[in-house]
């Protein structure tokens, strides 16, 4: 696999508190020597995610999640294997969400061979640019983890 086959996507909204986690991780990863691996930011527009990952072999997606775990907990999924769409969709607040994108992409046959999702457990999605300390630590841990595995 060439490095150009790999894509890292940070998802979020920087004005909604901990929702910025994925974006912050993407920005920090750019400080590493990624040897041609592309890092992009996305606001959660699932349709655009499909367009971005089509043709890639390995995709790493970093996003804020809310499951009731302790803030800063890092969840790891490989898609679509360990994600149950009904559970995700029921609570998705966004119109065309990340899990929908994964399942649509699977239907269309353009899902990357490897798609790993790191979900950072968020504490607050309130309006503002402050993120929770635990989430910031988790962002740093994810960045470290991803920089090791790519």
């Amino acid at each position: 696999m060439n490095n150009s086959d790999i894509l890292i996507i940070g998802i979020g909204n920087e004005y909604r508190g901990d929702d910025a986690a994925g974006l912050l991780a993407a920005r920090k990863l750019r400080n590493y020597d990624l040897k041609g691996i592309e890092v992009i930011e996305n606001n959660g527009d699932g349709a655009e995610l499909i367009n971005k990952w089509t043709g890639r072999k390995k995709v790493i997606l970093i996003d804020a999640v809310q499951s009731g775990s302790k803030p800063g907990t890092i969840h790891e999924f490989s898609a679509p294997g360990s994600i149950l769409p009904s559970e995700l969709f029921k609570f998705s607040t966004h119109l065309f969400s990340v899990p929908q994108a994964i399942y649509l992409s699977a239907s269309l046959g353009n899902l990357p061979q490897e798609l790993t999702i790191y979900g950072i457990e968020a504490s607050s999605f309130e309006s503002g640019t402050t993120i929770t300390a635990e989430v910031e630590i988790a962002v740093n841990n994810i960045v470290h983890l991803v920089s090791k595995i790519i």
Binding site: N13, Y15, N43, D45, Q66, E87, F91, F96, S107, A122
Partner: protein
């Protein structure tokens, strides 16, 4: 009936229907509907909009940051917010931009209309008409349609990327123009793709016209920008089919926003008359004569006519507007002359600026008061969805009695479809997943 929909239905002689989450609208919304003796006695579209956070956030910031900050309000229509912000600031400081810059701004708007309309039409609204839970289900039967939709949407994003610098939140826009402008060669690279997009948009409008539509017509007061020479994106007078004809500076004299208890969003009203409609149908009805010949031909072919008062047919109008956006993008690219400078100089002063532009889902109003140091003292932003909110409730009030004998689950679905006619952008900015984790 979408499985993920949480609903509580109390079956009584008098029914109360509560849909806690409305799927496939931007953000979070809920619907409360009370039916008494087969009539709708109460309808409330509950909206969890981040209440005016951005208006407060803008206070004290330099005028030059308004385009970038407001672009973050919505991931689907950042250009609308950005364009409204730059035009309002230019209005405040009496800045005139050269025609080449103006054309590039229209091109950027074309990109946003193509991507936003395509997303809504195919991925969010079409499944309603075809009886699918969502586009994931639809893709199993119609993979080619969905693939075409994704490609069409991508071309819109590509235009935004080229002109705006980054598709989701364009970073290349500034008061006075752009940070960097594309060369003619860079724009011409998109030519073939946009030709494809135009043909795909024609098929899209024809596809939309084949969908089943309820016979439902409303006497709307349509409000849209109207420009003497062009279908409106960035400028024009605010016109209605019931007598309004004003400049954006006069907006606050004719429209007002009011708090309603059940919604975090403000409801807009025409001071003298009440609710009104913004968005594709309003634009189309007031600007049909400014459409291209091709758009008019397709409008005839699809049976749309020169005016439309069936909100469900907004899906066809979105198709026609997508054709227009592609043709307009081609016209701009073909005639493009690179401006001498990417932006004109801007000298801030103590002033108030006003602007309206046409977001894909309707007219948007910005007003800023800036002090002598160029810092924003006050900001007002009226997004299209808060203007349409009362009209959505009225539609439901009138539409539900025609469905009263339907089983609840079908009734709820029809209500959701009626709400999605407006492509409502309800939270304009939140994105996160609430999830349950299944361990295997």
């Amino acid at each position: 009936m979408p499985k993920r929909l949480e609903k509580k239905v109390k079956q009584m002689k008098n029914k109360t229907i509560k849909v806690d989450y409305i799927a496939r609208v931007e953000g979070e919304g809920a619907l409360y509907l009370k039916i008494k003796n087969n009539e709708v006695s109460d309808v409330r579209l509950e909206i969890f909009e981040p209440p005016r956070f951005f208006e407060a956030f803008l206070r004290g910031r330099p005028y030059s940051e308004a385009p970038d900050i407001t672009a973050r309000i919505c991931g689907i229509c950042p250009v609308a917010y950005q364009m409204s912000a730059v035009h309002a600031m230019e209005n405040a400081f009496d800045v005139t931009i050269p025609p080449e810059i103006r054309e590039l701004r229209r091109l950027l708007y074309c990109g946003e209309w193509i991507e936003s309309h395509t997303l809504h039409l195919y991925m969010l609204h079409a499944p309603d008409f075809l009886g699918y839970d969502d586009v994931v289900q639809m893709a199993k039967d119609h993979p080619d349609i969905v693939k075409k939709a994704l490609r069409l949407k991508k071309i819109g994003n590509d235009i935004m990327n080229l002109v705006g610098g980054r598709e989701i939140h364009p970073i290349n826009v500034k008061v006075g123009g752009f940070y960097k402008v594309p060369t003619r060669k860079e724009l011409m690279k998109m030519h073939d793709d946009i030709c494809w997009a135009r043909d795909a948009a024609i098929e899209t409008a024809k596809f939309a016209a084949t969908l089943p539509f309820p016979e439902f017509f409303q006497d709307y007061e349509c409000v849209s920008l109207v420009h003497p020479d062009e279908y409106p994106f960035n400028e024009g007078r605010i016109v209605s089919n019931k007598g309004i004809d004003i400049s954006p500076e006069q907006y606050d004299f004719h429209f007002r926003e009011e708090h309603v208890e059940h919604s975090h969003a403000l409801h807009s009203r025409i001071r003298e008359r009440g609710n009104y409609l913004v968005g594709p149908i309003a634009r189309y009805n007031l600007n049909y004569d400014k459409l291209t010949q091709l758009c008019k031909e397709i409008a005839v072919e699809t049976g749309l006519g020169k005016e439309c008062y069936n909100p469900f047919k907004s899906i066809i109008v979105r198709g026609i507007e997508t054709i227009y956006s592609c043709e307009e993008a081609l016209r701009i690219i073909d005639n493009y002359r690179m401006p001498d400078s990417p932006a004109v100089d801007v000298e801030p002063s103590e002033a108030t600026g006003y602007a309206c532009t046409e977001a894909p889902r309707g007219m948007i109003y910005h007003r800023y008061r800036v002090n002598s140091e160029g810092l924003i003292e006050d900001a007002k932003i009226v997004p299209p969805t808060s203007q349409n909110q009362k009209t959505i409730e009225n539609d439901l009030r009138n539409f539900v009695p025609t469905l009263i004998n339907l089983p609840e689950k079908d009734l709820v679905w029809k209500c959701e479809q009626a709400i999605r006619n407006y492509d409502p952008c309800i939270s304009c900015a939140t994105h996160f997943l609430k999830l349950d984790i299944q361990r295997e």
